[in-house]
Structures are given as structure tokens and as C-alpha cells.
Symmetry: C2
DNA sequence: CGACACATGTAACACGTTACATGATTTG
DNA sequence: CAAATCATGTAACGTGTTACATGTGTCG
């Protein structure tokens, strides 16, 4: 796999590595583990399972076809690919095309425009951070997954804000 | 547009907002502005232009059909959508499914496994940071775009490393 | 019975990406 | 002339996402 964006696919594979499961189960498990922050359309689970089976990473698990459930189990090839994915860096050395970077870079020739975009992005990021904090306060503590997702968003927004400051400084010193 | 990942599409739109251009020109411009760090397959430019035209965001610019070039210009609708995109936060309040988060969250039930993944990710991120630094040293200073991309990667990797530390602490205190 | 959760699946489309085919123009 | 660059385009595929259709079991 050389594709860059395979979170759902690999996430489901990881769940199946723990124990065989059927589609609907995977949906609820995925949502539970992500603190309800990432709803997952059930339909996507089934199409993803088809693709995983096509690639030989999962296989139907006989396990007595109870009710109308169709369980899947991970294969050896699936375990190997999962292992690789878990150990691969989540950020590539050649950074994946990125919204924030593109927004700033396409404007960088015109310092005035670039500074305006930087200001707009700074405001937007602040607003995201605030609304996220409110949502987290409403939810209250307790769910570790939801908390960790919140923290990840926070540290990243802060990183991006620092980067925006840095960009602005570079632009100003250049003019 | 409610789609989350439209960097190429909107990037090209932003270039066309500056002045009409034809496909090949857009490819070279995009790569120049991103310091050669993000090569862009020409074919993608043409398919993207088709989609932009289909959506009424760009239109063929007559401008004397010189050679075999087919120039495009941004439309009013295109300007409006570009404006929205530039002002929209590059990170959403409900964070987009994210590789690093998923990698950790799917393992969080089993503290031992989670700690192993955290360690692996920490190592992988360090390695990315180092190889990126070497690449940047080889390239030498001079290209602002390439430098800014490098800086963005650096601050983000550092943010993710801090988050991994945080996760580990939470896991240890829970056990 | 009616509503709701459980359970599976299909169809259509989004953007991103690569590989390939084709020709005109410039330059050594 | 040969090679490189300029220039356009198609075909095929990848994952992610939504909307829709269909049926079963349970519980008030």
C-alpha cells in the first residue's frame, strides 16, 4: 500500500486483528473507540470490508452463520500489512499536500494578500479551538478517547498558529 | 463544497484567480510555488480543470487560441468559492479522521499494545524529522516556500510528539 | 401494531494519483 | 535529425462519503 490516506480501512483491519466481527459490530466499535467524535456510515464499513477481502487481508469467518450476520477475520497477510501500517510514520517525510500550506503558499508572491490570508487563518484556527473547547466542556470529562482527540486537535492548532506567526515574520522581514 | 480535501483543486483555482492560464502553465506554477517539494502530475491538472469547469468555477478564456494552448479564467462563482476556502479553517472543529489518532485509538484498550505503538510512532516521527532536516541541509537555504514547508512539518511533528508523550502519561496513570 | 435498533448491501459520486498516448515546438 | 520541452488529454483505479433499499428481531 502506497496510498496516503487509509485510516478507515486500516482502522477496521486493526479491530478485526483483535477478534472476528461483522460489519455492524465494526461500526459501533469504531465509533465507541473514537469517543463518538467520528461517526462512521455503516455502508462504508461494508464496502471497505469488500475491498479488504478483495485484497486478501480479511476472510469470511465461518463461525456458524448466526442470524443474518456475516463475520470476517483477519488473515496472515492482513496482520502483516497492519503491522507495517502501525509502524509507518503517520506523517511523511515529503509532506502530503496540506490545506493550510497550500492556502498560504499560493498567495506568497503578493505579501499583502498573504498577510491577509494568514490573519484569516489565524482567526479561523482560534475559533476552531474555542468551539472545540466548549464542546469538550459540555461533554465533560470521562471519555479518554474523546479527550485525546481533543488534545491532539489542540496541540496541532497551536502548532499551526506558531507556524503562521513564523510565516508572517518571514514575510515582513522580506519586505 | 463540503469536501474536506481539496488542496489541488483549490490551489489551481487560486492560481487562476491571479491570471488566466493553461494547464501546463498551472503545473509549473504550482510546483514553483511549493518549492519543488510537491510534484504535480500534469494529467491531474487537466482532469481537475474539467471538474472546475463542470462546476462553473472556471471558464475557457478565449484570449486568442495561440498555439495549442487552451487558457482558462476564473469565474465570479469561482472567486466566491475561493474566498470561502481561503477563509475557512484548514482544520475542522470535528477533526478529520487522522492516521496518528486512529493508530493509537484502535489500540487503547490494551495498554501494552498502545504503549508499543506509541513508541513505534515516536521513533518513526523522529526519523522523519531527521531525514527532513538532512534533505533541507542538502538543498540549502534560499527557497522560501521549501523552507516554510519544512518548518510546518517540523512544528507539526513536534506537536505530535508532545501528544504522544501526553497519551503515554495518561495511559500510565490509568494503569 | 408501530417504532426502533440490528444487520446487510448497492449505487453514485467526490478528489487524488499514476500510467499511457499523442502531437507541436524548440534546441543542440 | 534527435532529444528535450511544451502541451493536451484519456483510462483506470484508490479511498472516503452519502443516500438509498431491504429485511429481521425486539419491545412497549
Amino acid at each position: 500500500m502506497h496510498t496516503a490516506y487509509v485510516s478507515v480501512r486500516s482502522g477496521l483491519l486493526a479491530l478485526l486483528a483483535r477478534e472476528p466481527a461483522h460489519g455492524y459490530q465494526l461500526k459501533t466499535e469504531f465509533e465507541r473507540r473514537t469517543g463518538g467524535v467520528w461517526p462512521l456510515n455503516v455502508g462504508q464499513v461494508y464496502t471497505t470490508l469488500d475491498r479488504l477481502e478483495r485484497d486478501g487481508l480479511v476472510a469470511p469467518a465461518g463461525s456458524g452463520g448466526e442470524r443474518n450476520q456475516r463475520a470476517y477475520a483477519i488473515t496472515d497477510a492482513g496482520r502483516e500489512e497492519l503491522r507495517e501500517w502501525l509502524h509507518a510514520a503517520a506523517i511523511e517525510a515529503v509532506p502530503h499536500r496540506d490545506e493550510l500550506l497550500v492556502k498560504v503558499l499560493v498567495a506568497i508572491d503578493d505579501a499583502a494578500v498573504a498577510l491577509e490570508i494568514i490573519a484569516a487563518q489565524r482567526a479561523a484556527l482560534f475559533s476552531v479551538l474555542q468551539s472545540r473547547r466548549k464542546a469538550q466542556q459540555r461533554a465533560g470529562a470521562g471519555d479518554l478517547a474523546a479527550e485525546l482527540i481533543h488534545d491532539a486537535l489542540a496541540v496541532r492548532v497551536e502548532a499551526d498558529l506558531r507556524w503562521l506567526d513564523h510565516c508572517e515574520a518571514r514575510l515582513r522581514e522580506a519586505s
